[in-house]
């Protein structure tokens, strides 16, 4: 006999007794009998509430992640398979799991995951790969939620920090240098995006600060912008030109200041040249050169042997930059067409702007694009002007690269006070084209945080991490050359490998929470895949909550008490 039946019998018996006792009541007899019976039914329902059937997706697991709001949790279907990761605050009783892997082991039939809340922590992302079909993201906190920093910044070059600020309408974002001076400021656009530019100084690690200020000027968010500036390498450049011009003057000045080894031969007159270094054009000499820069006049003056040596060296890895500074003579055009650039005279030189391309704050000078039409189907653009026209192309030739350059007066940038922009433009072009002989740097963690796993890859076996206080920890690399490190102190750390040092920055645990939330959300979104199988519908019975029955029963019983109490008019029975 089931307990429910026993209880039902007992309640029925009690109700029967009540009905019998109420049979002779002088007043409200019918009401009292009815109430007795109703109270008995409600008491039974309170003890054994009836169940409902709810439809749910049998193969879907709802995962509540930290940051899930009360509204999100309340909106969840009750029947769904729901688990809560650590850190979820909910009033409802939920199945708590220590991590997603555990949850998947407990719910072996889960084929798809619906993520609700801030997003999956990095620990659970691998377990969720390929399973996430929906992400119901919690709103991001106010502040800087996205940050985009260049991986490598060379000394003296202009660098840009971009990102997105949440809830900063009418406010502004300020970049401060380590001494606290504001070097760039911008009001975020409608999406909250911003992009600030500053100029790096010498080699070394420096912490800039990014402040998000609200419309009323109060600081909403603030975070360190770690910048590890690396020194450059002395590229060996061979510069040949038919005649000196201002572009060459500023280019040579920049090359000398930037520490490049520059050999040059500039024609001054017929048979008269201005030389620096050896500037020889034989195969032996070209083997040590990283990049050769020629214009159409110097190309025209080359003899066949020199051209052969040059192209051979390019196939072997040399970079070749062809500057078109004027009309291209027919034989030169033919040679260059062999190199992949079909060049024709076209409309007159057009004025182009590079303000956006170079991120200039103030309007920069108008520059001239050579009056040429270039047909280079397999070349990648090297530089685009603000109006979208291409000013330079590069394409692979053997192991080297050949580039065509139409911008003849970039020196105006230098004259207009944008010397860092000029240097950065040319340093990037040279880095792009020069002989590939740099080493592959180890990949450093970009968003390391205290007590979170930071991963290094391409590290040597002797790699170690040095903290700011001078403590060393040896890294143990796996077969793929990757190693992990758990930082326990914020600030600059150094990856030591051989005699090389690579600084990287570790954020404090509580620093830039908005950024962490944004990163978690983006990483979770990146896990989203299209559902591979149709939803498996299922139904589940769920007991109704007891408290409405209990309250109703209590109300009835109270009413009964009122009716059955020893009322003054009912004294005949008590007497």
């Amino acid at each position: 006999m089931s307990p429910a039946l026993l209880v039902a019998v007992a309640i029925a018996a009690a109700a029967l007794v009540g009905v019998v006792r109420s049979r002779h009541a002088l007043r409200y007899r019918a009401a009292r009998i009815g109430l007795q019976l109703a109270a008995a039914v409600l008491l039974y329902l309170c003890l054994f509430p009836p169940s409902t059937r709810e439809e749910f997706a049998a193969d879907e697991l709802v995962v509540l992640t930290p940051g899930a709001t009360a509204a999100q949790i309340a909106a969840l279907p009750l029947a769904a398979n729901t688990v809560a990761l650590p850190g979820v605050e909910a009033e409802r009783a939920l199945e708590r799991v220590p991590d997603l892997g555990t949850a998947l082991r407990r719910h072996v039939d889960a084929r798809r995951l619906r993520i609700v809340g801030g997003g999956l922590p990095s620990r659970d992302r691998d377990a969720a790969r390929g399973l996430v079909v929906a992400f119901d993201a919690a709103p991001l906190p106010r502040g800087l939620v996205e940050l985009d920093l260049p991986h490598v910044v060379r000394a003296g070059s202009a660098w840009r920090v971009a990102g997105r600020a949440e809830g900063l309408a009418g406010g502004r974002v300020e970049l401060r240098d380590p001494s606290g001076a504001v070097v760039a400021a911008q009001a975020p656009d409608a999406q909250g995006r911003f992009s600030l530019q500053a100029v790096a100084k010498g080699e070394g690690a420096a912490s800039f600060v990014l402040d998000a200020l609200g419309a009323d000027g109060t600081r909403v968010d603030s975070m360190a912008v770690p910048l590890a500036v690396q020194a450059g390498a002395p590229l060996k450049i061979l510069l040949l030109a038919g005649a000196p011009d201002p572009e060459l003057k500023y280019l040579r000045r920049w090359a000398a200041d930037a520490g490049l080894a520059l050999d040059s031969r500039l024609g001054l007159s017929e048979g008269v040249v201005l030389t620096e270094g050896a500037a020889a054009l034989d195969a032996e000499a070209l083997r040590s050169v990283d990049l050769a820069v020629l214009d159409e006049r110097s190309w025209n003056a080359l003899d066949a042997g020199a051209k052969q040596a040059l192209i051979g060296a390019v196939r072997d890895g040399l970079g070749l930059l062809l500057r078109a500074t004027g009309p291209i003579p027919e034989p030169v055009a033919a040679d260059w067409a062999d190199l992949g650039y079909r060049v024709q005279a076209a409309a007159p030189a057009a004025a182009v702007k590079l303000d956006r391309a170079l991120g200039l704050d103030e309007a920069g000078p108008a520059l001239a694009r050579g009056a040429l039409a270039v047909d280079a189907p397999d070349a990648a653009p090297l530089l685009r002007a603000d109006d979208g026209s291409t000013l330079g192309w590069s394409r692979n030739l053997g192991r080297g690269r050949v580039a065509l350059w139409l911008l003849a007066d970039s020196y105006r940038l230098s004259l207009a006070g944008a010397a860092p922009a000029f240097g950065t433009l040319w340093s990037e072009v040279f880095a792009n084209l020069a002989r590939a002989r740099g080493e592959i740097p180890p990949s450093l963690p970009q968003a390391a945080r205290v007590d979170e796993r930071a991963v290094f890859c391409a590290v040597a076996t002797d790699a170690a991490v040095e903290t700011e206080a001078g403590a060393h920890s040896q890294l143990i690399a796996d077969a793929a050359g990757c190693a992990a490190y758990w930082p326990d102190a914020p600030g600059w750390h150094t990856l030591l490998s051989g005699d090389r040092r690579w600084p990287f920055h570790v954020r404090a645990r509580d620093e830039a929470r908005a950024l962490a939330a944004g990163e978690t959300q983006r990483a979770t979104r990146a896990l989203l895949v299209a559902a591979s199988s149709p939803v498996e519908p299922a139904a589940r019975s769920r007991p109704l909550p007891r408290w409405p029955f209990f309250l109703a029963w209590l109300a009835l019983v109270a009413l009964l008490w009122w009716l059955e109490r020893d009322a003054p008019g009912d004294s005949s029975r008590s007497a």
Partner: protein
């Protein structure tokens, strides 16, 4: 009042006892608590505690005193004496209002009371009193024992105590700052080693050390030292603060001071006075008609007081190359010092005495009405004024000069082109007035006609004609006309003159002499005596200066102006014709009309020069490089990298990041030498030097190193943007590129 004096005695005895109990119970703990508070948190801060204690005692006493009333006494008596039959309350009631029986009982009670020795006083509450005195005792002991534990004493002192004998404590620090007398800032005393003081202040240190050193010296960051002189237990020394500096106390025969960082003295430089010109509002004022005086008003302000103000007045007379200057200087006295002339609010500086404030006000206004008539200004003259204000700095005052303000009496024919120089050029240079000169000359010649011979008259008329021709040619150049020489065309002109002579009709006689001409007749004979030479000079200019139609010259003027100028030239032709023929009277109307046209041109036209770039014609390849090429040879360039100023700073900044281990090997001296060399250029070199000193003394201090790096950041040079090769492709990448090339080669 009770009916029996005995009751009153009993009552007052009870009150006294209760008061005594209350006071004995509360006063000792309260006193002890006040003493403890005074010892622990200071006498001043203990005042609230004292008041609270007083309140507690007073409340207890009040309660004891108020608690004794008739009912209480009756209760006590009943309790103390059973014989009273619990009827003591009757004693306090009015006998008249009692019943017979009550009166009887009352009498009995009274009698028994007299017989008994009932005592209504409460007994001494021994445990309570014992507890309160014990509490008082404990509090007193704690108060007495407070000092050794010293929770409120100085942290530095505690550190010193914990370190034992490692460092010397500064038992007393006194820095007397006596600002220079002229600043009128009262001397003040600081109890710190860092201070800000006006430049030139006399600083006097009085220090007391514990333990006593054998010698004490202040070492300044520029290398100078100041030995302190011992005077009893204290050490003192004096120095004049010439510039901001850092210093440290060095002791001999004692451990170094506990606070061993560099201390900073900031010298506040005396600012030069500010001059604000209230009137005139513009730099250039034009003289108004009937203006007799020129009102000037200035306001000068200074941080410590203004010593003197002078108005420099320059009168520039004349025009062209013949300008004479007259200068004079007037010493101004301030008028009605402004409301803000209160003594400057330097911290803790008391108000300067009223007398001295008048002598050198901090803010002073000056007003001066310049009497133009007395100055002797005439039309075309400029008056230039400038206020020179000196403050009372010693030994040399700071002097500020205001901008120059010009009052111009415009010359009559001048037209306003201020502010447009460079863009706008007047069409006509000054010699265009010559047309008027020609008219004047012609009129003068006509007036003298009676006294002259015919030949003389003709030659003078001809000379004026030559002048007219030169003028015409000059105008012609503006129109791009062909130049001509006097000699070539003289004949032709004379020939045409005869045929055109009839044009000079009688209408021209209507022109009257211009009244304004009376002013100048300077031209007359000097010009007319040597007409041929003058003309020849003009010819030379015409011959060599300008050739055929110059495109630029022809496009200088718009079509309308050209038409007007052409009309003027036509009139000049006619005037010249008649002058050459010796008929100046017939030439006069043409001259007048030419003048009118020229004036129209002058008034209507400015030349706007288009801003055009330099567009070079394409080189002629056939002629290129065909010149003399002897001795030409290759040149070797000498491109040197920019010398890196600030390299020591950059090096220090880099090596500071190298972990604590590297700190010992840093090259401080180069950076410090660089900082000393550039101290005056840097905004705050002292802060950097102080930070360097901190790191040097405590290499392990991470925060010190970070703050030093941040301070060094603005000093770092920005190098040229560096470049680096891209990473070499790995084996797979190389193979891919090679395969691409092979495929491309195969495809061709």
């Amino acid at each position: 009042m009770s009916p029996d004096p005995r009751l009153d005695r009993l009552r007052s005895a009870a009150v006294r006892r209760r008061l005594a109990i209350a006071l004995l119970g509360t006063a000792p703990p309260s006193l002890a608590a006040v003493a403890l508070a005074a010892r622990s948190i200071g006498t001043a801060a203990a005042t609230p505690v004292c008041l609270a204690a007083l309140a507690v005692v007073a409340a207890a006493a009040w309660r004891a005193w108020r608690g004794v009333d008739d009912a209480w006494l009756a209760r006590r008596l009943d309790a103390a004496e059973p014989q009273l039959d619990d009827s003591s309350a009757l004693l306090f009631r009015d006998a008249a209002a009692l019943s017979e029986l009550q009166r009887l009982q009352r009498a009995r009670v009274l009698a028994r009371l007299a017989a008994s020795d009932a005592d209504p006083r409460p007994a001494w509450p021994r445990p309570l009193l014992l507890a309160s005195s014990a509490l008082a005792l404990v509090l007193s002991i704690v108060a007495l024992a407070w000092r050794p534990h010293a929770a409120g004493t100085d942290t530095a002192e505690r550190e010193a105590a914990s370190r034992g004998g490692d460092s010397t404590a500064l038992a007393q620090v006194r820095l007397d700052i006596e600002a220079p007398a002229y600043t009128k800032i009262a001397a003040r005393t600081e109890a710190t080693l860092d201070a800000k003081a006006p430049q030139g202040s006399r600083l006097r240190w009085t220090l007391r050390f514990d333990p006593q050193p054998q010698a004490a010296t202040l070492t300044f960051h520029d290398g100078s030292r100041l030995a302190l002189v011992r005077d009893g237990a204290s050490w003192s020394g004096e120095r004049v603060l010439a510039s901001s500096t850092l210093y440290r106390i060095e002791l001999e025969g004692a451990p170094p001071p506990a606070d061993d960082r560099l201390h900073r003295l900031d010298a506040i430089a005396d600012r030069a006075p500010d001059v604000r010109v209230l009137e005139p509002e513009k730099t250039l004022t034009l003289l108004e008609a009937q203006q007799k005086t020129w009102n000037l008003a200035f306001e000068a302000s200074d941080d410590h007081g203004i010593a003197s103000a002078e108005l420099q007045i320059t009168l520039a007379q004349g025009g062209g190359e013949n300008v004479t200057f007259k200068e004079q200087t007037i010493v101004l006295t301030p008028v009605s010092p402004g409301p803000s002339s209160a003594p400057q609010a330097v911290a803790s500086a008391p108000a300067a005495p009223a007398g001295s404030e008048e002598e050198s006000p901090v803010v002073a206004r000056y007003a001066y009405g310049l009497d133009l008539a007395a100055l002797g200004i005439a039309m075309g003259d400029d008056v230039i004024v400038r206020l020179v204000v000196a403050d009372n700095r010693q030994p040399e005052p700071n002097v500020t000069r205001s901008a120059s303000f010009i009052l111009r009496w415009p010359a009559k024919a001048s037209s306003d082109s201020a502010g447009l120089e460079g863009i706008v050029q007047k069409t006509m240079p000054a010699y265009f007035r010559s047309q008027r000169q020609i008219i004047i000359d012609s009129e003068a010649l006509l007036a003298e006609k009676a006294g002259l011979g015919e030949d003389a008259f003709l030659s003078r008329s001809d000379a004026i004609g030559v002048d007219q021709k030169i003028l015409r040619l000059r105008y012609g150049q503006f129109l791009g006309e062909e130049s001509e020489t006097h000699a070539q065309h003289a004949q032709a002109e004379e020939q045409t003159a005869h045929s055109a002579g009839e044009h000079a009709d009688g209408a021209s006689q209507g022109h009257e002499e211009e009244p304004a001409h009376g002013a100048a007749d300077a031209h007359d004979h000097a010009a007319s005596d040597t007409p041929a030479k003058f003309g020849q000079e003009g010819d030379v200019v015409a011959e060599f200066g300008h050739v055929h139609d110059i495109a630029e010259a022809a496009t200088l003027l718009d079509a309308e102006t050209k038409a007007t100028l052409k009309s003027a030239l036509a009139e000049m032709w006619q005037a010249e014709l008649h002058l050459r023929q010796g008929r100046p009277d017939e030439a006069l109307p043409y001259e007048h009309r030419a003048l009118e046209f020229i004036k129209q041109v002058q008034q209507s036209t400015r030349i706007y020069l288009a801003r055009v770039g330099l567009e070079l014609p394409p080189p002629d390849e056939a002629r290129r490089l065909s010149g003399e090429r002897k001795g030409l040879q290759d040149r070797v360039g000498s491109l040197a990298a920019a010398s890196g100023d600030g390299a020591p700073i950059a090096q220090l900044w880099q090596s500071l990041a190298g972990g604590a281990s590297a700190a010992g090997t840093l090259d401080w001296s180069a950076a410090e030498a660089w900082l000393h060399a550039h101290e005056s250029d840097l905004p705050d070199a002292l802060a950097v030097l102080a930070a360097i000193d901190r790191v040097r003394r405590d290499p392990a201090c991470l925060e010190c190193r970070t703050s030093l790096r941040d301070l060094l950041w603005p000093l770092l040079p920005t190098p040229a943007a560096a470049s680096a090769p891209r990473a070499a492709p790995n084996a797979a990448g190389r193979a891919y590129l090679d395969a691409l090339q092979a495929g491309a080669g195969g495809g061709r």
